[in-house]
Subunit: 209 residues, 2 copies
């Protein structure tokens, strides 16, 4: 059951806490504190304690947070204590990089289906996957009950693909195409567009000489 009374901005920070905790665990630590987490993340320890307190009582005065317990709790809260199948649409350079990306392992996601509409790519193997024809995308995704998709098509194809994904039952889309998608209420979309991030940063820089 999802608590809908938690601000989305708090939900957005939980994956950062989880990533930092995983890293601390890799460093063979058993306990940590909101202070250490805050230093790692550039977030105040008070904010971290406040965010976590919305979900329960995880830390102990004196010993702090038991890392593996808090990891398990955050995974449970975020629904990443299972492995979501992910469909990837568009197997250009970026799609190929994503198909090879090692960062999904043990974090709740596995790309299980690749689609493209380019006859030269359909049938190609990328790692353990065969690229499927985009023409069978809707049927395949529906039958496999896939709810999560990553979109790495060219911008001018992305909206049409998104429409099909929604028809197929996809509920969350991570969009790498540089356009804003129009989707029905209740469908989650997040955007990855490097230029958006770069533009946000150079606002704070002096102009180049």
């Amino acid at each position: 059951m999802v608590r809908t009374d938690i601000p989305d901005i708090v939900i957005g920070r939980l994956p950062l806490y989880l990533r930092a905790l995983n890293r601390l665990q890799q460093e063979n630590l058993a306990f940590t504190s909101s202070h250490v987490l805050g230093q790692r993340l550039g977030i105040s320890s008070a904010q971290i304690r406040k965010d976590l307190s919305l979900f329960g009582e995880f830390g102990k005065q004196g010993t702090g947070y038991h890392i593996s317990t808090l990891i398990a709790e955050l995974q449970r809260i975020l629904h990443t204590d299972c492995e979501w199948q992910v469909a990837l649409i568009g197997v250009g350079d970026l799609g190929r990089a994503l198909a090879h990306y090692k960062g999904f392992v043990n974090r709740g996601f596995r790309i299980t289906h690749l689609f493209d509409n380019d006859p030269a790519k359909i049938g190609q193997r990328i790692g353990e996957f065969e690229v499927l024809d985009a023409a069978v995308m809707e049927k395949t995704i529906r039958e496999a009950c896939i709810k999560v998709a990553m979109l790495s098509t060219p911008g001018d194809e992305a909206q049409d693909v998104a429409d099909i994904l929604v028809q197929a039952g996809i509920q969350a889309i991570l969009n790498y195409a540089p356009i804003t998608l129009l989707v029905p209420d209740g469908i989650c979309v997040q955007y990855i567009d490097p230029v958006i991030h770069l533009q946000r940063m150079v606002y704070y820089l002096d102009l180049p000489v």
Copy 2:
């Protein structure tokens, strides 16, 4: 001159407005409204008007915003009315995809330098660039006055590379490596980690069956 009294969350929305305006312009429109922009972006028109009003008076009652004028103003505000040189460090699958990415054109950024520490990659050509030895990264970046970098190395190398980038005078880092970077105050870092975005979305989904 940067106005430091504007909340960063507002700055973060300006690139989205700019992208939507560019798209409207591609559709051969000359004028638009906060209402149309809001619909495209899933942001309320009131929010858009409020954000823009922090920087001046851009719209006219009745006719709305003149698109090309507002684009020029936002580019000026964001410091993307010039072209920033960008250094890209780490030329694996992802770095290669970024080097080929068409989405930088006319948006204020151009990747001008590629670096890697893999002897098999150094000297390779990727598009118009030759991959340079990471050993000359600090000197090369300093001499070229590059202020913006994209980091697509493996996670366990990213902090060391970031330290060198900061030494070299880099002020803004877009980090694709799945770790949180520790950098001095005043250095901007933004993160692109697909799993963070995926995790944030599946919180809202029912668990897979």
